[in-house]
Amino acid sequence: MVTTNAIYESLVKIVGKDFVSVSKEEKYFYARDGGLMPAHEPDFVVLPKTTEEVQEIVRLANREKIPIVPAGAGLALTGLVIPQKGGILLDMKRMDRILEVNETARYVIVEGGTTQGALKSYLQKHHPHLRHSMPDAPPSATVVANAVIHGQGRLAHQHGFNSDMVSGLEVVLPTGEVCRIGSCSVSPYWFSKGPPLPDLSGLFLGWFGTTGIITKLGLKLYPCKKMRDVMVLLTDKAELVPDILLKLSHTEMVEDVVISAQPLPLRFRGTFWIMTYITGDSDEELEFKRKMVWDAVWDYFQSRDVGILSISPDTKAPLLSMPSKDTTRFADVAKGGGFQYAGPITPIEKFPAFIRKLEEVASKYNVFYGSTTRLIGSGHCMMFSFSFSFNRANPDEMARAKKALDECSKFALEEGAVLWKADMDEQKMLMEKMDPNTLNLIKKIKQLLDPNGIMNPGNWEMS
């Protein structure tokens, strides 16, 4: 048995003394996130700089059968990078280079710890006519982690999940080999994560780091128009929302649609705010799109069920900001830094039922609630968040929030939704409901790729 000290020395040898920590403070910090999953400390916190260093660390972990948890900014809120069984917490933040932008093939290659904020700034500065699908997470969220959890961003309506926009991967397998996925496996170009080859990206996206560590990622970029605007549609009838979303989607003119439902601040109470984002290279283009949006809901406008709010530049600015500052504001509405949401992915027809459930559960458990829904891929589905904020210094409030979340997740699953970035309890719910053959396939793949079960143990783990 190799001693903890020997492991520490080996890690120091790989990354240098400054980038390995066993200090109490570091371990405390990496033991938790902003959500409700119980904390658990890692034994080592390691910050690699290169793919080769990652390889060496993984080989060490595999040899010594030490759990290893690759982490971005730890913002998933569902405990996905809490090291449930200790071991090595691999903080990827130092691998933050933006390696290449291909302007004509419209993709970027980033290292595994590059943040959303850094990529946004880089593109604005160097390639202002290109953009990526910025999620509404804090800007310190990493590009890779967001793809790994199938995150959604500001281009979700037009282009789907952020993982749909991946155009290639470099992965360190749990056994230490470096593997390229997609066109980059046979070509210097990272334009496709799969087609026309077998699409192996599915072995890593959505697995929460249980099948390998992504050290490089190609991401599709999209045209960045010169102007952008938001139209705020209001309705007080939840049952109309699915049809409104379909009508908006039908225009093929909107890049993003987000629905807010929350009782505070007061202006939100009693109405659903459907934020509809449009872009254009000219006033004429924007005006045309505005007209298309008006036309799409005109019948509802005439029946007085839907209005379009005239809003001041001051009100508009936070709605246009990327990421949305309002999301962060709501996250601390209860004061005390606790926030978690269940975000099932579901057909848009479920909106009225989900809103009813949210209100019922919030009332039952007496917790602060809100919901942000985002349309994904031309209305193919939506992410509906059952969001609760709580005071971390109030254990009773935390317990009530957790019960509320579990009840919402269970309800969503029964309604046919699939839980997004599921915490371990929700993963169990999903696996219980999953087709047994599918479950068995997942098990086989995991065993094949990670024979010693070292990768982020506790997640996608079947009994």
């Binding site: 953009r131 960045c224 128009k225 010169k226 102007m227 952008r228 605007d229 209001l234 309705t235 007080d236 601040p265 007061l266 202006r267 939100f268 109470r269 009693g270 109405t271 659903f272 872009t279 505005r290 007209k291 008006w294 005109w298 406008f301 007085r304 069920d305 839907v306 209005g307 379009i308 709010l309 005239s310 001041s312 530049p313 001051d314 508009k316 600015a317 246009l320 900001s321 990327m322």
Partner: protein, 349 residues
């Protein structure tokens, strides 16, 4: 319950039915106007109630001060007519609820009301306000509530306004300088129309500015500019304040350009109309208004209402006309800088 002062005999004696014949959106002939107005008086259905854009102008057109617009609002509410979609009305009602959120400065007998408009945080600075800038009241608890005239909710005004007035009274305020026409209009027009008594004297900020400029006359330099004035909807409630604007302009050397859409024929900013009637009418109003400003040769568009600023400042600027709030115009005249400016490019991509 508060009751509107409305004397139907005055309407019977009215020769012109100016409230409807002069309406810029209905353009009714006298016969039709008379017939429809009688229907409204007698509580019958009239297309006028549905078609009303809530521009407030009829309140100004009535030669008897008989409150025709407030009467229309009462009738609209009685009949459940929605001048704007229901969720817009709900949003407004919820947003401005007096729920104990407010800001009060060092208020003495004289105070300054920001009503519920954050723009004044930017506008109120410098010598013009040095004697009163700290004595501010702001927030839902001081919100004048006149906006509900646009949404056929006289009941909300009647419910909330007495509490607002009581809040002001409790602060011991004797003179309240209102920075928004709607606020002043509430206290100078709406409250007497409903027989509500005030414990303080409302002062229109035009009057206040004129007084301050005269006190600071050694600093005043004639600006020598030509300006189009953007007259707002709530100015219709208090047309008697308009002369102060001319007084200010004369003092600081600003020529108020004669144009088609000033004075009683003014066009509003149209954003309320956009929410109620849709974009076609609103766009048409804004285009006619701005084209008229351009035709008049305006260098500046002078704004009174912050909501008009939000709606039109960028649009007039694109036509080569400089937008400026009247407070900032006064600041320029005493050598201070404009505070309220166009927002930075309102896009982030």
């Amino acid at each position: 319950m508060l009751e509107l002062k409305f004397d139907r005999t005055k309407c019977a004696d009215c020769k012109g039915i100016f409230c409807l014949t002069r309406c810029q959106y209905l353009r009714l002939d006298k016969e039709t106007a008379k017939r429809e107005w009688q229907k409204i008086i007698h509580g019958e259905d009239s297309f006028v109630l549905e078609a009303c854009t809530t521009c407030y102008a009829c309140q100004e057109y009535c030669p008897f001060g008989n409150n025709p617009f407030y009467f229309i609002v009462e009738r609209q509410e009685e009949k459940g007519i929605l001048p704007a979609p229901r969720p817009i009305v709900t949003m407004w009602i919820n947003q401005c609820q007096p729920v104990g959120r407010f800001m009060v400065g060092k208020v003495g007998e004289k105070a300054l009301s920001y009503c519920f408009l954050p723009h004044f945080n930017t506008l109120v600075r410098g010598k013009l306000f040095e004697d009163i800038a700290g004595a501010v009241i702001f927030g839902q608890e001081f919100f004048c509530n006149a906006v509900y005239l646009h949404y056929a909710r006289a009941s909300v005004i009647k419910d909330r306004l007495p509490r607002i007035i009581e809040n002001i009274r409790k602060l011991g305020i004797r003179e309240l300088v209102c920075l928004h026409d709607e606020c002043y209009g509430t206290f100078a027009s709406l409250t007497p129309a409903y027989g509500i008594e005030l414990s303080f004297k409302p002062i229109h900020y035009f009057e206040y500015l004129y007084g301050r400029l005269k006190q600071l006359d050694k600093l005043v330099k004639k600006l020598g500019i030509k300006a189009a004035y953007q007259r707002n909807c709530s100015a219709r409630l208090v047309p008697e304040t308009d002369h102060f604007l001319n007084d200010i302009f004369n003092l600081i050397g600003v020529k108020r350009l004669e144009r088609e859409y000033d004075g009683e024929n003014a066009l509003c900013c149209a954003e309320i109309i956009r929410m109620g009637k849709g974009p076609a009418l609103a766009d048409d109003i804004q285009k006619r208004n701005i084209d008229d400003m351009v035709r008049s040769g305006a260098e500046y568009c002078v704004f009174n209402c912050p909501a008009c600023w939000d709606a039109l400042a960028d649009k007039v600027s694109r036509k080569g006309i400089k937008p400026i709030h009247i407070i900032d115009l006064c600041k320029l005249a005493i050598g201070e800088a404009q505070s309220l400016k166009l927002p930075e490019l309102a896009v982030e991509v």
